[in-house]
Symmetry: C2
């Protein structure tokens, strides 16, 4: 695991403000085949291995209707990531780029987003394909993929 | 503004846990034409009005390279949303659905995600099209659209 959180040549760290502007609730937990960050895929694939998303109470009731979507957007908390880098060197070669021009897990608010294929839903557990995160990653949210979702609420002024 | 946070027929609220599992930093602020939630579009459109995203220090340096992407994923904090509904009635007609089967702003962690078209970047300000959020919404993250991004980091075991 050496080197997981070290700064590489050319990377720039800042002193970040305290993370107290808003608070998160972990609403579930993600199980994947990857026990170390050094094993995780760089990007999830919709034909990747089946992963398991467990929903905690009191949120299980919020799953009702999710089974009608083929693809789901998953938001999760990258709880092992440092949050202070503004420039990163993903290739470890000193060629750096700003954090917002990367999908690296290292970011001021380390929220991962993935589009996954829904395989099965049963009793508060989702089986999905397409994740790339570490085993045990905390879950923040699930939403229907925007391309499959039509708002059921009536239009408002801004829609016209 | 009456009724913005009331519970409608058939909706179900829970007692949510304290939101202390992790803390967020607001890294910027979004300006849009919509001063009330009752005016916001239900879904952003890539040909919608130009909106402005201001990045706060010390994060401006993290924008370097973002100008090479046509589409950006934006994460923001829906700071006026209640967080306790597990069933919602978007049509206000008593027909309810679980929160995770909706893209409503009301969710246990009210994080909005949008794919926007990048119009311009200058001095810590992005101009973009495709947002649907309230004027003044706090910014959480910016990432290249996953469909336009190729990891620059070398592959790992999970990629094979």
């Amino acid at each position: 695991m050496a080197g997981l959180n070290e700064i590489r040549a050319g990377e720039v760290a800042v002193e970040p403000p305290a993370a107290t502007d808003a608070g998160l609730i972990f609403i579930g937990r993600i199980s994947t085949p990857w026990a170390s960050r050094l094993d995780c895929p760089r990007q999830g694939q919709l034909d990747g291995p089946v992963c398991r998303i467990e929903i905690f109470e009191p949120w299980v009731a919020a799953l009702d209707g999710i089974e009608s979507f083929e693809r789901i957007e998953v938001l999760y908390w990258l709880d092992h990531s440092r949050r202070d880098l503004v420039r990163q060197s993903p290739g470890k070669d000193g060629n750096t780029r700003g954090t917002f021009a990367l999908r690296s897990p290292v970011r001021p608010n380390p929220i991962g987003t993935a589009i996954v294929r829904l395989v099965r839903v049963e009793a508060g557990i989702l089986s999905v394909r397409g994740l790339d995160c570490l085993d045990g990653t905390p879950l923040l949210d699930l939403k229907p993929d925007r391309s499959q979702f039509t708002p059921t609420a009536p239009p408002q002024a801004g829609d016209f």
